[in-house]
């Protein structure tokens, strides 16, 4: 099955859960910015959670769907339509042959994920289908989608075919087991553009001036316009170490908040470098990375302190919620 790209959108890339196991060679993990949303989209169409889908940024593409396709859209609400009729988010939807999937514009959040039953079939590069634009590897020829591209889908699983059968008998031709998802699993971002994300103190937090430490927790930071998949630049009260430090480069992680000399922190995200040499003042809790990834440029971020134990407990709770969703889907299959 081939999808045809009629319009590419602002930045539409093939992403999965990333390229783990190659960071020692300097290869960024990459993958979906909001991994929870991609995983839910995949579950809804009967894919493995790690299957490749489309990450759609703010202004979506227009796609022509040539065969009967089961698809699901999660993450940002970018006003998706199927043949000009509104398409329900976080549902399994059957798209008839020849239909057009389009997006009206951002209503909430920043990145939508489109999963197709069978996943997107592009070659694995270093164990992943994720597009890493800077090195031009993975995804569709290592780049974002462009008009006239064709995208091959994989063979739907037995589970996908059973979900397709459920959807076909439903009155609205769609199916939403996501309504069983609990509060720990935020399937859809809220419409607000001000978020509170939980974070741990980073290694160099103690070396910040007292005023900078206070500002980190009390003041809002704005996501700057030159933010991308590699990192969010935050603009707020300027932060400073009590004494400048020359640091030796070492590994960084998804959610590391670095402080370059200019005083504006940078949160490292999916396409982050594997190592860095700036002071690390905070580490965003993994459970809140999806929320941060859905904050668009211009959006406001506040940090709230959380302990390591609490961060890991929250993360585990969300993993259990995803597992429950998986089981819930199995139980709903007719």
């Amino acid at each position: 099955v081939n999808l045809r790209v009629l319009r590419a959108g602002l930045l539409t890339t093939v992403q999965d859960l990333g390229r783990t196991g190659h960071q020692h060679e300097g290869v960024p993990v990459g993958g979906a910015m909001d991994t929870a949303a991609l995983r839910v989209a995949n579950l809804l169409v009967g894919n493995a959670e790690s299957a490749a889908g489309l990450e759609v940024t703010l202004l979506g593409p227009t796609l022509e769907l040539p065969g009967d396709v089961l698809l699901s859209i999660t993450g940002a609400d970018l006003a998706p339509t199927l043949d000009e009729r509104p398409l329900l988010m976080a549902h399994a939807v059957h798209a008839p042959a020849g239909s057009q999937l389009a997006f009206g514009g951002p209503r909430a959040g920043c990145r939508a994920y489109v999963a197709f039953a069978g996943g997107i079939d592009v070659p694995l590069v270093l164990g992943s289908r994720a597009t890493y634009l800077r090195a031009g590897i993975g995804g569709l020829h290592g780049r974002a989608l462009a008009a006239d591209d064709r995208i091959t889908l994989g063979e739907p699983s037995a589970r996908s075919r059973r979900i397709a059968a459920c959807v076909a008998v439903g009155s609205s031709a769609s199916w939403s087991p996501a309504r069983f998802a609990g509060t720990a699993l935020r399937v859809l971002p809220s419409t607000g553009t001000a978020v509170e994300v939980r974070a741990l103190r980073g290694r160099h937090y103690d070396e910040l001036t007292a005023a900078s430490q206070q500002a980190l927790w009390l003041e809002p930071f704005v996501v700057s316009g030159d933010s991308d998949r590699m990192g969010y630049r935050l603009v707020g009260p300027p932060l400073a170490l009590a004494e400048p430090r020359e640091l030796v480069s070492e590994a960084v992680a998804f959610g590391t908040v670095q402080l370059p000399p200019g005083g504006n922190p940078i949160v490292l995200l999916a396409d982050r470098q594997t190592t860095g040499g700036y002071p690390r003042v905070l580490e965003v809790a993994s459970v809140d990375l999806p929320l941060l990834a859905q904050t668009p440029p211009g959006g406001q971020v506040r940090f709230r302190e959380v302990s390591l134990e609490e961060a890991q407990r929250l993360y585990l709770a969300r993993e259990q919620e995803l597992a429950r969703l998986d089981v819930g889907i199995t139980l709903q299959l007719c």
């Binding site: 060679e25 290869v27 290694r203 030796v248 590994a251 960084v252 809790a285 993360y315």
Partner: protein, 220 residues
Amino acid sequence: MSPDFVRIEPLGDAAILVRLGSDIDEATNRRVRAACARLERRRLAAVSDVVAAFTTVAVHYDPARGTFDQVARELSTALDQLDQEPLPATRTLTIPVHYGGGFGPDLEWVAAHARLTPEEVVRRHVAGEYLVHMIGFAPGFPYLGGLDASLVCPRRETPRTHVPTGSVGIGGSQTGIYPIESPGGWQLIGRTDVVLFDPAREPPSLLAPGDRVRFVEVQA
């Protein structure tokens, strides 16, 4: 620093930094490589990536498969008696470089800064044998130690937005090679045709920590 120095600290809620020394030197590099070799042999179930740096090894793990306390305890057991760990074989590679001109737009600047002629800068750069301390910054990018002290120079005040693939640069007391086109702030003195990163190759990175590098000048 004591040879059995191992300090374990969290890096966020899904990674751990193992600190094996405080200075950038060959002894610390050997301990970093020993820790990586050990963790390659004794793989911990929750761990996805083991990343060597100058003085640390980072261990990325899935907190759903092990808490910090659990993984930290497993790590300190696994990293016991590190000085007994046999180190994997390393290689010495020779990298041909076109120095100066369009290939090394900052060679004249580096020469002026060092109060040397460009020819002398090249002579000193090819005279060295460099140790790969770590791979980072970009896929396959080697941080090379062993730069002649007279060639140490500051990074550019304004980093370039596009540094061409294969560019050989100097940043502080380090020298390195850009494997892919990327932004970069190092002073560029030459360029090589050697492919440092190729995802179709196994392993994709030409160099690994512990390898040695020599440069030779390609005559135009």
